[in-house]
């Protein structure tokens, strides 16, 4: 049960955090100038968007949950299972960012789910 909670936090909080940062960056605007000063200006602009802070907070929860589960579970189980973030990412991309998720991407996500199931079943 403890594992399920940690995995849920890593996958849901981590991916939601990335989605929030993605939304914040879309609001900030596309980056065209990659000179250090221009990048610094973009970062400062992004810091004024509330989604950046929500995203960073959620990603922090995800990171500490990863540390938590690594204290008692094998890395060779934890990291492959976190690939479930592709599923949460696709759902979030579809419903939160309004992206289209095509058949090929759905096939990839289905393969990830099958793989994660085998990784969990292969626990010994």
């Amino acid at each position: 049960m403890r594992e399920v909670i940690f995995f849920a936090l890593i996958v849901v909080a981590g991916t939601s955090g990335e989605l929030c940062v993605s939304r914040a960056m879309k609001e900030t605007g596309e980056v065209h100038d990659f000179r250090p000063l221009a990048i610094l200006k973009v970062v400062l602009r992004a810091m004024r968007v509330k989604w950046t802070w929500i995203g960073v907070g959620l990603m922090t929860i995800g990171f500490f949950s990863l540390l938590g589960i690594l204290s008692f579970e094998n890395v060779s189980l934890v990291v492959p299972v976190t690939a479930l973030s592709y599923v949460v990412g696709a759902l979030g991309g579809r419903f939160f960012l309004g992206e289209r998720v095509n058949r090929r991407r759905l096939l990839g996500i289905a393969l990830v789910c099958v793989g994660v199931t085998l990784v969990v079943l292969g626990k010994r």
């Binding site: 690594l70 204290s71 492959p80 990830v112």
Partner: protein, 138 residues
């Protein structure tokens, strides 16, 4: 022609760093957390004590440094190479993390788990071969 070759070399070097540094970072975090032991924080004081132990564990900092190296290589390679090329290449990192877990941490990976990891790699590869942007025509 020469600059084309150099760009290829630079891209594969960066992807090589990504595929090694990301998994190595996770393995080092795992090693660090195993030295701390199972997390059982029940009070705010316990949480603070745990946080202090995490932040004073060398392996954790090495892990964070390795993950930052991964992130830097990822950002750099994305500045000249296509996301749709870089992302599928990084799918291979799931095999690397399992291999490093076996070699560096002595974990035992069952054949079924190896099969699962291979299918995850394939899935991530397929996801990465889709178009990176789907909303530009709306």
């Amino acid at each position: 022609m020469e600059s084309h070759k150099r760009l290829h070399l630079k891209t594969f070097l960066m992807i090589g760093i990504m595929v090694l540094a990301g998994p190595l970072g996770n393995v080092l975090l795992g090693k660090g957390m195993k030295t701390i032991g199972p997390v059982t924080a029940t009070s705010p004081a316990d949480v603070l004590h745990l946080l202090a132990r995490v932040l004073t564990t060398g392996y954790i900092w090495m892990g964070i440094a390795s993950l930052l190296t991964f992130f830097l290589a990822y950002m750099l390679v994305l500045s000249w190479a296509d996301y749709s090329f870089v992302q599928p290449s990084s799918a291979f990192s799931y095999v690397v993390v399992a291999t490093l877990s076996v070699v560096l941490l002595g974990e035992v990976v069952s054949p079924l788990r190896w099969l699962g990891i291979a299918i995850i790699c394939l899935g991530v590869f397929v996801v990465g071969r889709t178009r990176p942007s789907t909303t530009e025509n709306r």
